[in-house]
Amino acid sequence: MSQSPAPMPFIDALRDAGNLRLPGSGLAWLDAARRENLEAFITAGLPDTRAEAWKYTALRALGQRRFALGDAAAASHPVDPYALTLPGIDGPRLVFVNGVFRADLSRLEALPPGLSLQPLSRVLENDPEPLRFALSRHYREAGDAFARLNAALAGDGVVLRVAPGVRVGKPVHLCFAGTPAQGDAAWHVRNVIELGEGAELDLVEHHLATAQHKHLATLVSDIVVRDGAKLQHALLQNAAEESTLIRRGSMHLGAKSQATLHVLELGGALVRHDLHAELRGDQARLDTRGVFVLRGRQHVDTQLSIRHQALNTASESIWRGVADERARGVFRGAIVVAEGADGSDASLNNKNLLLSAQAEIDTKPELEIYADEVKAAHGATVGQLDERALFYLRSRGLPNAEARALLTSAFCRAVFAALPNETLRDHFSDALLAHLP
């Protein structure tokens, strides 16, 4: 006797998703890719904790929820443009509200020469062919379940290209705002970003909420940094407290290219962040810096995967986790130095701070080396605030909460010390402090 699987409202809500009209619908190759990914997602269902990639992040509760297919009113919600601003960031801006591009809130006039910045929805209407390869991709790993869902349903996002040799002077601001809608909605954003050879770009990715909501967002970003190009990518994740955010970034680095990623994760009830980076060209360099600061019952799972595939490549990763109250953090940092990637230098440093007895952080650094003459170092710790330091600060007059906040932000300091935009760095520090209970 076969037993029918337990009903899963999350999946049930997708039964009619194939009939959804999305930007680009009608393009045969895109329709096919979307249909295949949707079917694959529905057939597999949500991954459970038996899958290694989801070992510490249970999706049972999510499976019992039902999300609307996008937000039909996303184009017309009133949003205060001032709420979207970040100090020190006044360049081009692309804004999405509940996953839909908003020209009225964006700043796309007078783009510097060599920078092409458009919403995916528009590119799919006008000139979809160059995206055929990126959007036809089939995700097969269990860790990529939501990328499959994203590939099936994403209708908007960022398409950004910097022409070879062009240095974009001002940071480009990508803003993803969630706002209350009728019921809980799921929206999906797809970003395709490419820096041509020798190009330089500052990118600020900003997730925020204009008011509390319980939406689900998935975001898939493919970033290609060609030979000799330089990317500075700062990510401020301040999504709604009760929202779910699943983000998958991939980054391909060409020869002598450099990419630096700074991540501050603050918001969301359930957050998953996967980064797959491949150092494909000789002497490519990747620096990743990140911190999550969690409270309440937040659950944030960061999965970092860095592959050294070429000679003399370097990666340095410094990540911090802070969990208070009943929050749960997960960090997995996997570094692979592939065969032939001789002379590579890889380091991973992950330190975590538990601010309450009920909080939990699981960390798992992994290092696999198949090459010669490799320098590699990794370490991970989970600890608590230094009571002696706390008493020292209090004995000078700092109230307990303030002293704890000061020590906690000091703990995270190494992460943002190298963020070149000083105003943004201060803003990150302030946002971090404001998020402490």
Binding site: D386, E387, R388, A389, F391, Y392, L393, R394, S395, R396, G397, L398, P399, N400, E402, A403, L406, L407, S409, A410, F411, R413, A414
Partner: protein, 257 residues
């Protein structure tokens, strides 16, 4: 100002202070001397409110308030300052930022206006002169990588900025060479005033060559067994702490038993 009466305290289940009584008035400098294990540091820690010290009997009042009922930060705001025997290194916390936050937290607690960064800088410059401290230390993280002497001078510098009514110096002389000791003492002396009292806890007499006390108390086995003027310190220097034991019939009996 400070009234300690019959204070009993224990650490990790062990009785350390066993009936300590002491009164300190504004403007006075009291030295507390005693051998290792007499309870000197416990006294400093109990007065500043460190966790892990259980007061089992007795009372401490500061300007009429029950000091033991106050949180460490409230004691600081009330005007009690402890110069640590082992100042803590706090990586990532800038010395100046910390000190301004501490001063403003105290001022806020007392209902005084907070200082803006310009006002604070002016104050710091004045105090730097007194302490002869290099302003390079201010830009570093709290005590991080400081030498022993720098740490102790930083303690006194913090004291100068925070302007407490009662300063407790917990073995501030330990680990200092003679030049560093002189500098620290000079800083303390510059802060002496008719409104401010000092409790100087020390094992050795030599600090008292530079900070002249009004009263010297000998602490042994958790109690003050002898009090006198500064000449008492010299006697101790000459005869050692064994002299106190012989001198005090009760202790001498205890020791013989």
């Amino acid at each position: 100002m400070l009234k300690i009466e019959n204070l009993h305290a224990r650490v990790e289940g062990k009785d350390i202070l066993k009936g300590l009584t002491l009164t300190v008035n504004p403007g006075e400098v009291h030295a507390i001397m005693g051998p290792n294990g007499a309870g000197k540091s416990t006294l400093g820690n109990v007065l500043s409110g460190r966790d892990g010290y259980e007061v089992t009997a007795g009372s401490v009042t500061f300007e009429g308030r029950d000091l033991l009922a106050l949180e460490p930060e409230d004691r600081a705001a009330a005007g009690v300052f402890l110069a640590f025997q082992y100042p803590v290194e706090i990586p990532g916390v800038n010395n100046t930022y910390f000190l301004r936050a501490a001063l403003n937290a105290q001022r806020k607690q007392r209902g005084e206006a907070e200082l803006d960064s310009m006002q604070f800088l002016k104050l710091v410059r004045e105090k730097l002169k007194i302490m002869q401290i290099s302003d390079e230390l201010l830009h570093r993280a709290v005590n991080e990588g400081f030498s022993g002497g720098e740490k102790k001078r930083n303690e006194i510098f913090q004291m100068a900025v925070l302007e407490p009514k009662l300063a407790i110096l917990d073995e501030t002389d330990s680990g200092l060479d003679i030049d560093a000791l002189k500098q620290v003492a000079q800083g303390v002396n510059a802060l002496r005033s008719p409104d401010r009292a000092f409790l100087v806890i020390t094992h050795y007499q030599r600090l008292l060559d530079y900070i002249e006390p009004d009263f010297v108390h000998v602490l042994a086995d958790g109690r003050i067994v002898e009090s006198g003027d500064k000449t008492l310190a010299l006697k101790l220097e000459e005869h050692g702490y064994a002299w106190v034991n012989d001198h005090d019939p009760a202790l001498a009996n205890e020791a013989r038993a």
